[in-house]
Subunit: 352 residues, 2 copies
DNA sequence: CTGTTAGCGCCTTCAG
DNA sequence: CTGAAGGCGCTAACAG
């Protein structure tokens, strides 16, 4: 039925804006307080009134204003702010999925912000989220400013840094076992006899970039070697720039015989470049030199790569789930305890 | 400095909870109204007071409570509720990215809900979003209940249905050109001489499933044929169930010589099954029969498929952007105008 | 330019 | 069991 009569008369009083408890009260001929009681489960309300109120609610299509409710109760919003750099990257999408699972089960919701690796935008979104009374934050930090994640800067709202962190930040963080993963991958390639190993990765100003390069370097050190400068390419954020970087490596006079791609964007770019280059070689009637490729991050279809590939595999969704659990832990316990740093294990998988 | 002295005295009065305009007013020795004026740009405030207030704000780390502000102003939340079935599917992640771009540029934020194809959960999330005063909704509907998207049910909050819709729903919708896409793909395969063409897709209770099957059927009709019942497999929602379904098709006495996969999950599952089956055939020393594969949705790595593949390509992010623009159009114009239905064009791409 | 009053929608508190 | 009063944090509307 959904009362269409909308104007004068004391029926709904719905001039503009959503109906309120007052409107319901008027229709049900009770006080706003009784409406509120019914909305909160109907304890201590006479069944008859309960009924009248419920009918009125259905009639006008009332939805309780959760924000006003929380304001009065002095509670925060029930929102968790999630800040990622890019939803298009399946790694972050997977992480978001994991966060959502845990946050959703807790009856809370996610408000998302995409920073696109822009520090100013990140700062703006943080302020926006705080203004919206988020209960906590899960952030893949874009910039090099740990200060903005200090408790003071966030009005005491807890934050979990995900995937990336800072040297001396006072916040929980969940990382992958970047150094070890990169170390083992590189070590394996060096043990196979490769001496010129390429590196495609993030800027070292990003902690994942720094840590994965560190593992790469340590493996070289173990073999009495050093990374070859001209084979190191940093800063590729998407597949096409990664492909270009790999093209450049392949075009060198002495190209690498093996490559470590420090994330899935770079792995996929490398696969594309190698595939293209091999096709061109065959067109020229040459036998293309094989390239040993090891990538950080697994991804859908990694097992179908046209180029033999090994990966440092992990579970992005699990990282998201753990991040959310760490956040809730802190919400429950209060922010007394010291910041925690968790590193998720990685696996090594070879795809023929 | 961030005032540490936190207890007695009229300095901050921050017993618990975030500081408020009153706290700032006390510290700056002005009235709350002056604080409010400064927060709103400082028009009509003496520079000296402005300064005092700004200093106080910085000192206590104040963030304006956006929810209370909006309550007073009678404005809604500045949130757009986005309901999708699964963030892990790159198609929906891409769509989310597109929505975010447009919503973010408009200075609004996204609150997300993941329905996991669960109708009850969908209904619950819709109610939650309305309670949170979302300004609009973008929904990939999970169920078969158009009623819940009627204006009455949503308290007049506008909704744009994305990717899927219902026969007689009174809401804006943005779809892909499903029927035509499936028609052309199937028509091509039939024109190549295939007569037993498999179909892997959604249940027909989902509009994309229904529409894509309809295109499949129309193409058969055009060639004087009918879809072969035993080659039609519906309801695979993920890669592994799609792979199983394709396994079954390949195991038939007369397997299909061509297959139309109606979405990316089914395409990838089919590729996996075909690849596996071909490897097994080769192991037995047999020459595997080639399979013609055409998939709806492009996806990263489609061009690197180990099985020759053609796709009905489109831009998920663009679908998201258009959905968001349609929503804002309606917010601006008011809900006077009739519901709009937009169909995004598709392209046909062959990967050797 | 500044402060006071009042009220957004809701619910805690206290009186009946 | 029910209602009236008052206030969460903020800002329009109105005084000064």
């Amino acid at each position: 039925m959904a009362a269409a009569g909308n104007g004068s008369g004391p029926t709904t009083g719905r001039g503009r804006g959503a109906p309120t408890v007052k409107d319901i009260a008027r229709v049900a001929e009770v006080s706003p307080m009784t409406v509120s009681r019914v909305l909160s489960g109907g304890k201590n309300v006479r069944p008859e009134l309960q009924d009248r109120v419920e009918r009125a609610i259905a009639e006008v299509g009332y939805h309780r204003n959760e924000n006003a409710r929380r304001l009065r109760q002095g509670r925060r919003s029930g929102l968790v702010g999630v800040l990622i750099t890019n939803v298009g990257n399946p790694y972050y999408a997977g992480m978001l999925q994991g966060v959502e699972e845990v946050v959703g089960e807790a009856g809370r919701r996610i408000i998302i912000g995409v920073t696109n690796e822009d520090e100013d935008l990140e700062q703006q979104l943080l302020a926006d989220f705080l203004g919206r009374q988020v209960e906590g934050l899960i952030v893949v930090p874009a910039g090099r400013e740990p200060a903005r994640f200090a408790p003071d800067a966030l009005a005491g709202v807890p934050v979990v840094l995900a995937s990336r962190t800072f040297p001396d930040v006072s916040a929980d963080a969940i990382l992958l076992d970047d150094i070890h993963g990169a170390f083992v991958a590189t070590d394996r390639m060096l043990a196979e006899g490769h001496t010129r190993v390429g590196f495609l990765g993030n800027q070292v100003s990003v902690s994942t970039g720094r840590r994965r390069f560190e593992g790469f370097r340590q493996a070289h050190e173990r073999h009495g070697l050093e990374p070859v400068d001209e084979l190191v390419r940093l800063g590729q954020q998407d597949v096409s720039s990664a492909e270009q970087a790999m093209d450049q490596l392949l075009g060198l006079e002495a190209p690498p015989t093996a490559v470590f791609a420090a994330n899935n964007r770079n792995s996929i770019g490398a696969i594309r470049a190698i595939t293209k280059s091999r096709a061109q070689a065959r067109d020229r009637g040459e036998q293309p030199a094989p390239i040993r490729l090891f990538g950080f991050d697994s991804f859908e279809f990694a097992d179908m790569s046209p180029v033999p590939l090994s990966v440092v595999a992990h579970d992005a969704a699990e990282l998201g789930r753990v991040a959310a659990r760490m956040l809730f832990d802190r919400l429950d316990r209060g922010d007394g305890s010291a910041p925690r740093l968790v590193e998720l294990p990685v696996e090594f998988v070879d795809f023929a």
